[in-house]
């Protein structure tokens, strides 16, 4: 596959300062088509800040974020509002689940369709044929997504009443509703039991294979990361300290030191 090597997301020398604190220090990273890339590192390494820069929640101090959508010209998305980043095809989930609690599971997913639908206020009030068609399409697509993540049975429950693991899956479904080319998952397995983690592991691989969506994920669960990632980036104190295949990362002395402290080989 020649397409395999094509870069989808290219981050160059990304730096993010909060006052005097440099949370992310010239990190370079790329994700290619059809890849699962993991970003790991100890707590406070700047992984989530990196995510927030890429998805437009923060405006990076320096560096470039380039998106190469299929059949479209490259876009530099620094300083884009989050909704425009999402419209570019980059959808994310959150470390601490951020669902719309008092909306139903289905409605949560339907929000994801917002940026792919166009009915405006006048259209909504008149509720013409086109508006109804679009609404119906939104419903169908959302149901289909719920089926994929196994939540159809909960479609009309309030999101806040879902069990924890299901809430995580709902976040993924909601992000997928935006028709992304790249899915950014921030600690999708946090707080899950081993059984749920395994199911998630399968879900992520299935999304990559069947939906043709590339994935960039932050994760602490090493087993999951080693199992599914094609490449891994390691961050510590805002800097990228290593990059490579799971095998390379496993044996990288710098990574071992970062995780276990100096003299880690004693442990």
């Amino acid at each position: 596959m020649a397409d395999q090597a094509r870069k989808l997301l290219e981050v160059q020398e990304l730096t993010m300062d909060f006052g005097g604190l440099r949370a992310v220090d010239s990190v370079t990273l790329d994700v290619r088509v059809g890849e699962i890339v993991a970003l790991i590192g100890p707590n406070g390494a700047g992984k989530t800040t990196f995510f927030n820069c890429v998805t437009g929640i923060y405006k990076p101090t320096r560096g470039q974020i380039l998106v190469h959508p299929l059949n479209q010209k490259t876009q530099k998305i620094n300083g884009f509002k989050p909704n425009r980043v999402t419209a570019m095809g980059m959808a994310r989930t959150f470390q601490n689940i951020r669902l719309f609690q008092n909306m139903t599971v289905l409605e949560n997913v339907m929000i994801g369709r917002h940026c792919r639908t166009t009915t405006n206020i006048i259209g909504v009030i008149l509720r013409g044929k086109k508006a109804r068609q679009q609404e119906q399409e939104t419903i169908e697509k959302s149901y289909a997504l719920l089926e994929k993540v196994g939540l159809v049975g909960f479609a009309n429950e309030f999101a806040k009443n879902l069990p924890y693991g299901a809430q995580r899956r709902l976040e993924i479904a909601r992000a997928m509703a935006t028709d992304p080319i790249l899915l950014l998952l921030d600690e999708p397995a946090a707080g899950m039991n081993p059984h749920e983690t395994r199911a998630l592991d399968e879900l992520i691989v299935r999304i990559k294979d069947t939906e043709n969506i590339s994935i960039l994920l932050i994760e602490h669960d090493m087993k999951l990361v080693m199992n599914i990632s094609d490449r891994i980036y390691v961050m510590e104190y805002g800097k990228k300290i290593a990059h490579g295949t799971p095998q390379e990362i496993r044996n990288n002395p710098k990574v071992i030191e970062a995780y276990l402290g100096e003299g880690g080989d004693d442990a």
């Binding site: 909704n83 609690q101 008092n102 409605e107 917002h114 679009q134 419903i139």
Partner: protein
């Protein structure tokens, strides 16, 4: 808690209260004669009243706690249990006759009651539309707006000025008033896009006050504290109407407007736009990250909320034929906001009921006028304790899909 312990703790409360009020209620010093009068009977009343109130209060609190414990222990059961309110709304067998009765009463009202009553109802209906409008901004989009009265004033003054100075007709001014309200809503919306929660409330509160001060002090345009008089009542194809007929006409006009508002807000609520508003209310960051344009969504919520205020502002001015800045003070914002909160944020039926109750009850309980604010406050506190979600809580919307929907379309 057992019955005995209720009674015991209530008894203690009663004794304590009797002790506290002893100097106030029982002892009466006659300064002329230099004697002390002891009114023991008063203490008996205080004790009994405290005892009963305390027992009822404890019982209610207990019940509430048991209710929430049930909900926590059996989540799915609690969510399946549909409240009476929701059942009345959703079951066509129940709600058709109710709607029928309401419509008949509403249509016949002006013919069976005096003009005074009709006027009261016109104002009540004005509040219904105001509540429904604010419900978009506060209930759906979650943008706490304490200066809603400003938009109402904008509509009223727009009509007053256009009518008295330029002789424009009511029917021309009605949409202009609404659109001016919406425009001012957008203008206000821009600077406060970044604010949320308390800060937003403070700024909108300030905006409401600023609007009133502008009406008061900009003599050339708004005629200052004197207000604007001789505003025309709504005409009907040039038919001459006396005050009675005009009021009845305004009543029907308001009735039609209420139906229209309910229709539009209902459509907005169950749509792409309405869902974006609700998502914004639930979680702003997640909402934006899911591709919703925050600026546009917030501004549209402000504009549509303000539109209805502007629209009924025009009708208000035409009904009273005289407006001055005093009509547009903070109390009105506060009442409309309480309508939304009492009715249940985001619930259309709840807001309609709350608006009618809050406006009509004081009118029909004139005998207890002195205690109006006291009762109002007590009701608010009780509502917040026992039913914080409002009279009718947010009803879950279900969406039909595939075959189900296809049948609906054909059938």
């Amino acid at each position: 808690m057992s019955m005995i312990s209720y009674l015991k703790s209530s008894l203690i409360a009663a004794v304590w209260f009797v002790f506290l009020t002893l100097p106030l209620m029982a002892v009466k010093v006659n300064t002329l004669k230099g004697t002390v009068e002891w009114r023991w009977l008063n203490l008996l009343w205080v004790g009994m009243a405290t005892f009963i109130l305390s027992a009822v209060w404890r019982w209610a609190m207990e019940r509430r706690q048991m209710g929430s414990a049930d909900a926590a222990s059996d989540e799915t059961e609690a969510t399946r249990k549909v409240g009476l309110g929701q059942r009345l709304l959703e079951d066509p067998k129940l709600n058709r006759p109710i709607i029928g009765v309401v419509v008949v009463i509403a249509l016949l009202m002006p013919w069976v009651s005096e003009m005074y009553q009709v006027t009261i109802w016109v104002f009540a209906l004005i509040y219904v539309v105001l509540g429904l409008g604010l419900n978009i901004t506060v209930g759906l989009a979650g943008l706490l707006d304490l200066g809603y009265v400003a938009f109402f004033g904008v509509g009223a003054y727009t009509y007053a000025i256009l009518n008295t100075r330029f002789g424009l007709d009511f029917w021309v001014c009605l949409p202009i008033g609404g659109l001016t309200g919406a425009l001012v809503g957008v203008l206000l919306g821009f600077p406060i896009l970044r604010l949320r929660g308390d800060y937003l409330a403070i700024v909108t509160l300030g905006f409401g006050s600023i609007a009133k001060i502008v009406y008061e002090n900009w003599e050339e345009v708004f005629n200052g504290a004197k207000g604007i008089e001789k505003i025309s009542r709504p005409g009907f194809f040039g038919v001459q109407m006396d005050i009675d007929a005009a009021t009845t006409f305004t009543y029907y006009l308001m009735l039609a407007l209420v139906v229209f508002t309910i229709f539009i807000t209902n459509r907005l609520k169950d749509s792409r736009i309405g869902r974006a508003w609700m998502a914004l209310r639930e979680d702003e960051i997640a909402c934006v990250a899911m591709g919703v344009d925050m600026a546009r969504t917030k501004l549209s919520a402000y504009a549509l909320g303000a539109f209805w205020a502007g629209l009924v502002g025009v009708i208000f001015a035409s009904q009273t034929t005289y407006i001055n800045p005093a009509s547009f003070d903070f109390m009105l914002s506060a009442i409309v906001l309480s309508i939304v909160v009492l009715g249940g944020m985001g619930s259309i039926v709840g807001v309609v009921i709350a608006a009618l109750v809050l406006n009509l009850l004081p009118e029909y309980l004139r005998a207890f006028e002195d205690y109006r604010m006291l009762v109002f406050g007590a009701v608010m506190v009780l509502m917040m304790l026992f039913r914080p979600q409002g009279l009718i809580s947010n009803v879950r919307k279900t969406y039909a899909h595939r075959k189900v929907e296809a049948e609906d379309v054909h059938g």
